[in-house]
């Protein structure tokens, strides 16, 4: 794989591939994910962008306004994997028949609803078949397009509109599904988990690796949603940092089956630091919330230890 050194300034000067004028909410983490993933395409390389129905789709291609510099296709909610696998296959045939000569890359985006849940089968099929494509999940941990209903990516105890906290409820009873683990079990050449940290090197490097690794690749990007998470929109960078420093959202890769931890906090922060900033967890900070905070902390600890073991740390 041809990977270039991370040159922050050169990357920022590259042409935008997600144009302004889209209708994502102010401060949306999803659009930051898409912008930066697409910036990892080398200048001059062509791409076809796919998309599952969701916030991103209804906001970035509202007729007649497409926010994409590249060709783009949306078909439905649960079929972004399959749809792009058809595009990628068409590319191979048309290339073989000499009908096109350019090199294309294939990147599709889905929210956690379209990826963890309704689109999991289509994603699994596309990855298992080994199409030369990247599936990027911008994981904002709920069905935000329809108004913050829980998904299998929603963290435990989060208050959502279908798992509301109430007098006898502490929000979502179940813990998050380990999607990156599920994708790694497909034995595809590349799986990465990242978010927005520092100068975005982690996101860039993983995006580039995912795009330029031949075969199927999957990228899971934690993409905060100020409305659904109920935090102050300007605090995005801090929220992401806390997600990583508390080990709620570890940064790792699985390359050809080998698990690699990309970052290990020198002082793992208590999970509370991440939760306290978000309105969706405020009920845990009321009297009586302590056991739930503790249970959530234990869940995060258990998963972190499991990840360390997988990564041989």
């Amino acid at each position: 794989m041809e990977q270039k050194a991370f040159q922050f300034r050169e990357i920022q000067a590259r042409q935008e591939r997600l144009a302004p004028g889209h209708r994502m909410c102010a401060g949306c983490g999803g659009s930051i994910a898409v912008r930066n993933v697409l910036k990892a395409l080398h200048p001059g390389d062509k791409a076809v962008v796919g998309n599952a129905t969701g916030c991103l789709e209804v906001s970035t291609y509202m007729y007649p306004y497409t926010a994409y510099e590249d060709s783009y296709i949306h078909s439905a909610f649960e079929n972004a994997g399959a749809t792009l696998s058809g595009v990628e296959t068409a590319y191979r045939v048309l290339k073989k028949k000499g009908k096109i000569s350019s090199e294309y890359k294939f990147i599709t985006f889905g929210g956690d609803g379209g990826t963890y849940d309704i689109g999991l089968q289509s994603l699994s099929g596309a990855m298992e078949r080994g199409h030369d494509m990247v599936y990027v999940c911008y994981d904002n941990g709920a069905y935000m397009n329809t108004g913050t209903q829980r998904s299998s990516a929603t963290p435990m105890y989060a208050d959502t509109t279908t798992t509301p906290s109430g007098t006898v409820s502490q929000g979502k009873p179940q813990a998050r599904k380990d999607l990156a683990g599920i994708l790694a079990a497909h034995n595809i050449p590349y799986v990465g988990q990242t978010t927005f940290i520092g100068n975005m090197k982690d996101l860039y490097v993983k995006s580039e690796r995912a795009i330029y690794t031949p075969g199927a690749a999957f990228l899971n990007v934690l993409a905060p949603c100020p409305r659904g998470w109920k935090y102050n929109a300007p605090d995005l960078m801090e929220i992401c940092k806390l997600a990583v420093e508390t080990c709620y959202w570890p940064l790792f890769e699985v390359i050809d089956g080998k698990w690699i931890l990309n970052y290990k906090p020198s002082h793992k922060l208590p999970l509370e630091d991440f939760l306290r900033k978000q309105g969706r967890f405020q009920h845990l900070f009321q009297p009586g919330g302590e056991p739930f905070l503790q249970a959530f902390q234990e869940e995060v600890d258990r998963r972190w230890e499991e990840l360390l073991a997988r990564c041989g740390e």
Partner: protein, 101 residues
């Protein structure tokens, strides 16, 4: 048949819409001015700015452009005023202003 996004609007006849509502141009969203959504406006202080470009990748709306290695003025036609850039800036070179200020 009118094919250009800029010619298509809510008064366009059915005969003139693109087939299957496809669009054959890149980045037509630029025609839509999301800057109107803004309640607070980021103001760039060029003296404080060290041109580190850290604000650039954090903008959800691709509104901080870079030309010849230098940060440019905000794209106010599209900036929604989310305030992430102001918070990200290590040098306090971006301040959010409300209309009353």
């Amino acid at each position: 048949m009118c094919l250009k996004a800029e010619q298509i609007n809510e008064n366009t006849k059915w005969q003139d819409l693109t087939e299957g509502l496809q669009i054959y141009e890149p980045a037509t969203s630029k025609l839509f001015q999301t800057g109107e959504w803004r309640t607070e406006t980021p103001v760039w202080n060029r003296e404080k700015c060290r041109n580190c470009l850290l604000c650039v990748p954090y903008c959800p709306d691709s509104c901080i452009l870079v030309k010849e290695d230098k940060r440019q003025e905000f794209d106010y036609d599209h900036c929604k005023g989310c305030g992430i850039c102001a918070k990200v800036c290590p040098f306090g070179a971006i301040e959010m202003e409300s209309p009353g200020e």
